[in-house]
Amino acid sequence: MTGRKQNLTRRRFFELGGATAVASLAAPVVAQQAEPIRIGVLQPFTGGLEALGQQGANGAELAFLDANDAGGVDGRMFELIRADTATDPKTAVERANDLIRRQKVAAIIGPVTSANRDAMRPTIERGKTPLLYATDYEGGVCSRYISCYSALPDHWVVPIVAHAVKNLGDSFYLVGSDYVWPREMNAAFIAECDKTGGKVVGEEYTPWGAKDYTATLRKIRDSGAKTVVISIAGADAITFVKQFAATGMKKTTQVVFFGFSENYLAGLSDEESEGIIAPTNFTSSLTSPEAEHLKERVRARFGADAIVSNTVDAHWSLARMYIEGVRRAGGDDREAVTDAMVDQTLMSGNGEVYLRPGDRHVDLNVLIAQAQGGRLEVIEELGRIAATDQCT
């Protein structure tokens, strides 16, 4: 609550004071004349994915504001312009157009869903403006102007299948939202099972806003699957887990949950979330120095209650990669930064990550985490994983 409120006031301040005021406040002495580098923070602030949008914006803004506090890049400050996709592709395109053509931003960080990103792609490429995309997705983006800090099926599915077959039993029931991402994840899951000897006994897709999963739960139980693999998106997943937990099936059936993060913990009681296993790239229960550093920075800026999730880490890290790109290129020229920012290694909230030049995707450190007592604890660290080239 506090974190949110603080955030709101901070945002208000942006609007009222305007960007120059912010810049001069952040660095009162340096560079009154140097033109700021404008960055579009294009996130869903309304329309259903607000929570992710807020965290993505927090992560990105943390990186840029910290850079400003450190004096900017060559004396140039970053000016952040928020825009709301409303979780809707056509709005995302409109806002992207606005950011590129009217606000003349040097780069855009966002949005959250593949649907929005794909919709924006022609606009981005026409505007030759770097897009920093920091959400996990199904893979396949290959564009000069889109850099992805994203967990791909290679990052998550391959290790989790190995882990599950070894520790959780070898028969799986896959339940996903009726979107592209769950389908691709499940396809990868099935392919991986074929290799490792796991067995997929059922696959099902649920529509948005479903309220009653009893029929699905019945099918899962009747299938005898030892593990249920969830790729349901958003609040529906919470409904599913709650109803799953209430049946008492947890005693016999394990849960693997793609995309599970601190956001979901808030919507579930400790008993309900207990034992859920998820592949991830960051959890706030990490205690490594770099993780502590990120948590400390987020809390200093956004309050003690601010959620530090995978999403925050991804946006923060990718934004810093861009800043490094600006430093290397010696300015915010879009083409120059696009060339300069790849092929760099950077300390994220969870170990060093590498932005590859070939397909502009990041090699990430993957963890397998488990919900224990309302926290997401790491049970296995898999180290840095390089996904296959997304351009081939």
Binding site: F45, T46, V93, D98, V180
Partner: protein, 326 residues
């Protein structure tokens, strides 16, 4: 009577001024805004279609985006060469898009108006439900790109070159003006008067010997075709289509535009679409979460207190000659 006449005259002047201003915008405004307004003109065409059935005939449809989406998907599928034999021609795409929307509108009208037919709340809920079904179905369709939709839809070209913002804006303005003339002509024709009578009391019109079902179907199909046209123009400018273009959300958005603008006057509906989308664009970034609250309040207040919307009275034209009392 004199008052009414004068009101009509101001409406005529305001209407003329509105189009002159829109022409001037094309010269005075920079490219990005022009591109934006060109998109809003798509919404404006969409809104005029809705105003024909809702404002004039009193049919409240919660599923108009089905036809907008059908036009958009139709155009995309045709121009992306996903159908055998269509080629990738823009014109073929447009024809296919409008045709698809028209057929769908006719099918839905046939389903809902036939026999004793559905009206009022039943019609609203059934169209709402239809929009949901279509959205889920398209989301499930791999051929149509699922939830992510199809992208890379070709923009309008002239001699192999992509048409620039300014000419594109005037093309859109021209289309919008043609649609405005068409819808206005329908509204002012004897047929429009009968539609208005259906809105007030369908049974009475039926008793007078009119086949109200057919009359309503015609209006609904015209509105569907216009929605399809606007959807196709949208897809060409935006370069992508996705299920959000044919679902519940856009269907209700267009209702807001038309209600706020003024449901019974085509130009008011169009200006409503321009103003509300424009305001949303500028205010949603500054007001954040509050924006939706604000638009909700405005919408409720307009529905309660201003049946003619914000611009309905301004753009009301003098009644057609044959209806004028002398």
């Amino acid at each position: 009577m004199i008052g009414a006449k004068r009101e009509g005259r101001t409406g005529l002047i305001a209407t003329g001024l509105c189009w002159i201003i829109l022409c001037g915008v094309g010269v005075l405004v920079d490219d990005w805004l022009l591109a934006q307004v060109a998109i809003y003109l798509c919404y404006g065409i969409f809104a005029m279609g809705l105003s024909l059935i809702w404002g004039q005939a009193g049919i409240l449809s919660f599923g108009q985006a089905i036809f907008f989406g059908a036009g958009a998907y139709g155009f995309a599928v045709a121009t992306l060469d996903m159908l055998p034999g269509t080629g990738t021609g823009i014109l073929t795409g447009l024809v296919f898009a409008v045709g698809l929307a028209t057929v769908l509108a006719w099918a839905l009208a046939w389903l809902t108006f036939a026999g004793r037919g559905l009206s009022g709340a039943h019609f609203a809920i059934v169209t709402l439900c239809a929009a949901a079904v279509v959205e889920i179905a398209v989301t499930r369709s791999g051929f149509l790109g699922g939830y992510n939709g199809l992208f890379g839809v070709a923009p309008f070209t002239w001699g192999g070159e992509m048409i620039a913002e300014r000419p594109m804006y005037y093309i859109m303005l021209g289309v919008a003006f043609a649609v405005f003339l068409g819808v206005t002509a329908i509204v002012r024709s004897p047929y429009g008067t009968v539609l208005e009578a259906i809105r007030d009391d369908e049974n009475r019109v039926a008793h007078l010997g009119y086949e109200t079902r057919r009359l309503k179907t015609v209006a609904f199909v015209i509105a569907g075709a216009l929605s399809g046209l606007s959807g196709a123009l949208f897809a060409a400018q935006f370069g992508f289509v996705s299920p959000s273009l044919l679902g519940f959300a856009l269907s209700t958005q267009v209702l807001i535009w038309v209600a706020v603008g003024g449901r019974a006057v085509p130009l008011a509906a169009m200006v409503g679409a321009l103003v509300v989308s424009g305001a949303e664009n500028t205010l949603s970034n500054t007001l954040g979460d509050l924006w939706l609250l604000v638009i909700g309040v405005i919408f409720v207040v307009v529905v309660i207190a201003a049946k003619n919307g914000l611009f309905g009275t301004l753009f009301r034209l003098p009644p057609p000659k044959r209806l004028r009392k002398t």
